[in-house]
């Protein structure tokens, strides 16, 4: 992509490292073309190119450089990639360099070097913790000030473009899950794998080995890399062991389920064809070994944030793994042995290590000798108290520390340096242990929190368990693998623990802050300083949670990985209490920030929710249906004819046409979406008696009945018709929307309440296609279609049921009506649905049969005063809906007992009525509110609302509506006002009977 001409990587060491010098890669940072190598991270490549300034801090916009070499990076956050693939806030330390990579720095304007918001830095004392809580309280209100303040907040930016990449999900099962492929994890995988246990080992990197990859340790007198290689070789050969690379466990949830994100293509410019960007793993394990290592902490001293200051382990990782000089002149500052390792590694690579500053007064001879040999000055009992430089470190001030570490000598020494490598000790990565439910405990000997009691089957081992030496990691890993495999019933095998070449350890001496003036950053991303913590304490925000929330400590993208321990310890010092008393904030998932894409996987766009189509869908589609969502179902709303555009006007025409066609001749609607439940067994009648409000024992075979179901609290739940096919066999229908909940309710009743009833039920919604054919000519059309049977009133009266056949296809035919017309519901096996529909349409051509959709169906049911979703809103009683006649007084049924409560008998309850605009033409919108006086003052007394509105009844030639109003039918004849303030509409309406059309039901007979 860019010129392969080797641009100067002036900080690249001439040899060493796990980079491939034969494969140079071009990339851009802030538009500037640079070169790196395969094997680099963006951070290592930037350092190789001597790019020190990579970002600006959150609050003070201070210049910041690369601070770590791993997941914990708080500073080097960049906008990776471009356009729709832009990934804001991406840690440069975690990005595998790829050809053509483009990254931009963030949180600066106009550019990194000329950032105008650094004015905030000068006003530092003002912008202290709690600043915003103490001002901007007056007019014109926070939302006004916020407009300006918000712009300054945030870090990266997004245009919220549609993601061109795809994501996937994967399920995994194993006996033992090992999280982390460092020395601990590899040892555990070896020992557990050898027993035959099913082992899954996951690691966030491309290279397994963890810290061993970049340490210069020897195992059995050979470089550690060789040990890793042979371990991997053995593991690869084991069929029971699976290795997942670039896979980061981000959360430990209940029942030992661990979730991870696999970065399938993040190391590529774009994913390969038909390959996802990332994959979500759901891992179900019997035992989980947490071998996630530890994270180094910085030290807290004045101006500890300048570019050029980084963690000691990071400095040597850049040198060892990436062959990058993190600086030319280095000073190391530590309170533990880690700094020595860095000093020696750097010095051996030819970097000028000026001094090791150790706050302790003692270190063992091994390191002393090493430093002596390398000519590195050792300054014990001292600390870095200040640093110099702006866009990059130029030097440090060093002073000796008092024995209580609370003061420093007045004299200080300046040492010129462009790299300050710091180590405040290591914190075990207890995150996953805590997600599992564990509470960490403070371990003073390593000045860190370590796992305590186990709450699930999680087994922290190695550095994540507070065992920092290589030999301890290998030993704990090996033993843990064996132990867990044995517990799971796998047999022990012989193993041995290899030898390492580590020097003895001089214990860490906790040093939480170094005296001095100037900003001492604790949370370097959110610019939380030591003085902010002191202020929080002074003002009473002393709980670690208050501290976090008041100062924003640990609330950045790194979630306090490098800052929380120091911050909490400083609060403990301020409070004069032990660290274990003060405690730590909760470790919450995800361990690393995770993109939302893989959590949704493939369930995006049209696949967000299943799309249910009836068996007749294709016909509707071919015949001009405009579909409407009914839950997951697609239903024809109305049918446009050839050439009609989908306009409101044409919709009205279509609906009118469908109603008139049906009431005038014959129409047909697809009702396959209704829930259908098959009920069989000797106690079926008794069962129906208990779940419906009306009686069922006397229903004759071959007859259907309308039924009403209540919830236990007496509220109307569902309605539908149920037919008796034989002595012990019923066919139930439910509303479309309640199909699933009615089935579950019935299953609950049968399995929990009345297991003694001999009843079996099964959902047959999908097995049957159903069509309602309605209108005065419906019988004629149907008679022509069916094979032999006679459909006269005598053989199939109203509410009759008959088994017939159509072209040899068995069909169930119910003479029931929602429209109020002579009507039949024809049910056929779903596979024949479309065929039968087509046959009926064909046969009906001469009778002008018309298909109708949900709109025409709704108008016709409103004309007949039938209730539907608008009225069955989960708040209405049978009495509210005029259905008291369906309440049997002769039997017990679900919901009966609570019908008699005061609130249900309250005369003020709104009850079902019909509504007609007094002007005969104004549309009364669904959702309008019924009031007595539309000019009454607010809050206005309300009488009820319009539950179902039809813009026009084509039959009656004026708009009609159903509504619920206080007083109900007692008010028939009165006029009230229907108001929709949202639309500025106020219309006078007359209250009428809810049955607008054919009150005597004569049309049911054709």
């Amino acid at each position: 992509m860019f010129s392969k001409k080797n641009k100067q990587q002036i900080r690249r060491l001439s040899s060493g490292g796990l980079i491939d010098r034969s494969k140079p890669i071009g990339f851009k940072f802030d538009g500037k073309p640079l070169m790196g190598y395969v094997g680099d991270t963006l951070a290592s490549a930037l350092l190789a190119n001597n790019v020190k300034l990579v970002g600006r801090s959150f609050k003070y916009h201070r210049p910041r450089g690369i601070y770590t070499a791993g997941t914990e990076e708080p500073n080097a956050l960049v906008a990776l990639r471009t356009d729709a693939r832009t990934e804001p806030n991406t840690r440069a330390t975690n990005i595998e360099l790829f050809d053509g990579l483009e990254a931009k720095s963030q949180n600066r304007w106009p550019n990194l070097f000329l950032d105008v918001m650094q004015i905030n830095n000068l006003a530092g004392p003002l912008f202290t913790a709690g600043f915003y809580y103490k001002t901007f309280m007056g007019m014109p209100g926070w939302h006004f000030y916020e407009y300006f303040i918000r712009k300054a907040a945030g870090m990266g930016s997004t245009e919220l473009e549609r993601d061109p990449d795809t994501y996937d999900k994967k399920n995994a099962f194993c006996d033992i899950l090992i999280i982390g492929g460092g020395p601990t994890g590899l040892s555990a995988a070896l020992s557990a794998g050898r027993t035959g246990a099913r082992v899954l080992i996951i690691d966030s990197s491309k290279l397994l080995g963890g810290q061993l990859i970049w340490e210069l340790d020897q195992i059995d007198d050979k470089p550690a890399l060789q040990w890793i290689e042979s371990a991997l070789k053995e593991l690869n050969e084991m069929k029971n062991v699976t290795i997942a690379r670039r896979t980061t466990a981000f959360g430990y949830y209940d029942s030992n389920v661990v979730n991870a994100i696999e970065s399938v293509s993040d190391h590529l410019p774009t994913p390969e064809p038909h390959t996802v960007r990332q994959r979500l793993w759901q891992i179900r394990a019997q035992k989980v070994i947490i071998a996630t290592g530890a994270t180094e902490r910085p030290l807290v001293f004045s101006n500890n944030d300048r570019p050029g200051i980084m963690l000691a382990s990071a400095a040597r990782r850049y040198a060892n793994q990436f062959a990058v000089k993190p600086g030319n002149r280095a000073v190391i500052f530590a309170n533990n042995d880690d700094g020595y390792k860095t000093a020696v590694n750097l010095a051996e690579k030819g970097i000028d290590v000026r001094a090791v500053v150790d706050s302790r007064t003692y270190v063992n001879e091994f390191w002393k000798t090493k430093l002596d040999e390398l000519g590195v000055e050792l300054i014990l009992g001292s600390a870095v108290i200040n640093t110099h430089g702006h866009f990059g470190l130029t030097g440090v001030d060093i002073a000796s520390l008092s024995s209580d570490q609370k003061s420093t000598s007045s004299q200080s020494t300046f040492i010129s340096a462009d790299l300050l490598a710091i180590s405040g000790g290591w914190s075990p990565n207890v995150h996953l242990y805590c997600h599992a439910g564990g509470r960490p405990q403070y371990e003073a000997s390593i000045a860190a929190f370590v796992p305590g009691l186990r709450s699930q089957s999680e087994y922290p081992a190695g550095a994540s368990n507070g065992a920092f030496s290589l030999i301890d990691c290998i030993t704990e890993g090996t033993n843990c693998g064996i132990q867990l495999a044995t517990e799971l019933g796998f047999s022990k095998t012989i193993f041995s623990i290899p030898q390492t070449d580590e020097p003895s350890v001089t214990p860490i001496k906790a040093l939480w802050r170094i005296p001095g003036k100037g900003k001492k950053f604790v949370d370097i991303q959110d610019d939380v300083t030591e003085s902010d913590i002191k202020l929080a304490h002074q003002e009473g925000y002393i709980s670690v949670e208050h501290l976090k929330r008041y100062t924003t400590l640990g609330m950045g993208t790194d979630q306090g990985k490098t800052s929380n321990m120091n911050g909490h310890a400083i609060m403990a010092e301020e409070r004069g209490e032990a660290i274990e008393t003060v405690g730590t904030t909760m470790f919450r998932p995800p361990y690393i920030p995770i993109a939302m894409g893989p959590l949704a996987g493939r369930d995006i766009g049209q696949s967000y929710s299943a799309k249910r189509k009836s068996a007749i869908h294709n016909w509707h589609h071919e015949n001009g249906a405009i579909f409407i969502d009914a839950g997951q179902w697609l239903r024809p709303q109305y049918y446009l004819r050839n050439g009609e555009a989908n306009t409101t006007q044409n919709m009205d025409l279509a609906i009118t046409r469908e109603v008139k066609g049906t009431r005038g001749n014959v129409g047909m609607v697809d009702v396959s979406t209704l829930g259908k439940i098959d009920i069989q067994g000797a106690d079926s009648s008794e069962f129906l008696n208990r779940i419906y409000t009306n009686g069922w024992t006397k229903l004759a075979i071959g007859k259907a009945r309308y039924g009403l179901m209540l919830r236990e609290d007496g509220i109307v739940f569902d309605d539908g018709t149920t037919s008796r096919l034989s002595e012990h066999h019923y066919f139930m229908t439910t509303t479309t929307s309640n199909a699933a909940s009615v089935l579950s309710h019935m299953e609950y009743c049968l399995q929990v309440h009345w297991p003694d009833l001999d009843v079996k039920i099964s959902s047959i919604t999908e097995q049957w296609a159903a069509m309602a054919i309605a209108g005065p000519k419906s019988r004629d059309v149907l008679q022509k279609t069916i094979d032999e049977e006679d459909l006269s009133d005598e053989t199939l009266p109203f509410m009759g049921v008959k088994q017939i056949s159509i072209d040899g296809i068995p069909a169930l035919i119910f003479r029931i009506s929602f429209s109020g017309e002579l009507a039949y519901e024809v049910n056929v096996p779903a596979d024949y649905g479309e065929y039968v529909w087509r046959r009926i349409m064909e046969k009906g051509t001469t009778d002008n049969i018309i298909p109708y959709g949900t709109e025409a169906m709704a108008i016709m049911r409103i004309e007949k005063g039938h209730v539907a979703g608008g009225e069955l809103d989960g708040r209405t009683t049978p009495d509210d809906l005029g259905m008291n006649k369906l309440i049997s007084s002769k039997k017990e049924f679900i919901g009966r007992r609570l019908l008699q409560r005061d609130g249900f008998l309250d005369p003020k309850r709104p009850k079902l009525v019909g509504l007609i605009p007094t002007d005969g033409k104004s549309r009364i919108r669904t959702g309008s509110i019924l009031v007595k006086d539309p000019n009454a003052s607010l809050p206005m007394p309300k009488l009820g609302h319009v539950s179902s509105g039809a813009y026009l009844s084509p039959t009656l030639k004026h708009p009609i509506s159903l509504g619920l109003i206080t007083g109900g039918s007692k008010r028939i004849g009165e006029t009230v006002w229907a108001t929709s303030p949202l639309h500025g509409e106020i219309n006078e309406v007359k209250i009428v009977d809810p049955v607008f059309y054919d009150k005597q039901g004569e049309r049911l007979n054709g």
Partner: protein, 96 residues
Amino acid sequence: MIRIKCPYCGLRDHSEFNYIGDATKLRPINPELANDDEWFDYIYIRDNPRGVHQEYWQHISGCRSYVKVLRDTVTHEVLKTGLPSDDLLFSYEAEK
């Protein structure tokens, strides 16, 4: 993910189930004789324990059975599962 052992299907993810609720609430066996308090208690009142809870889950994406589950509401640990007729709390305590 909570893993629940369905008596018919074995150990399954809780996402295969619908949570129903407190399994200790028994519908009055003789609805006619039960008084208002019993009905009110059955429909509206919950023990809502902080700790061991006997509850129903329906294996909605499996065999559709109502599974009785004894679960700790603090740790989410599933202690025991069984059929609606089982008294899990009793057998759990007995086994302890």
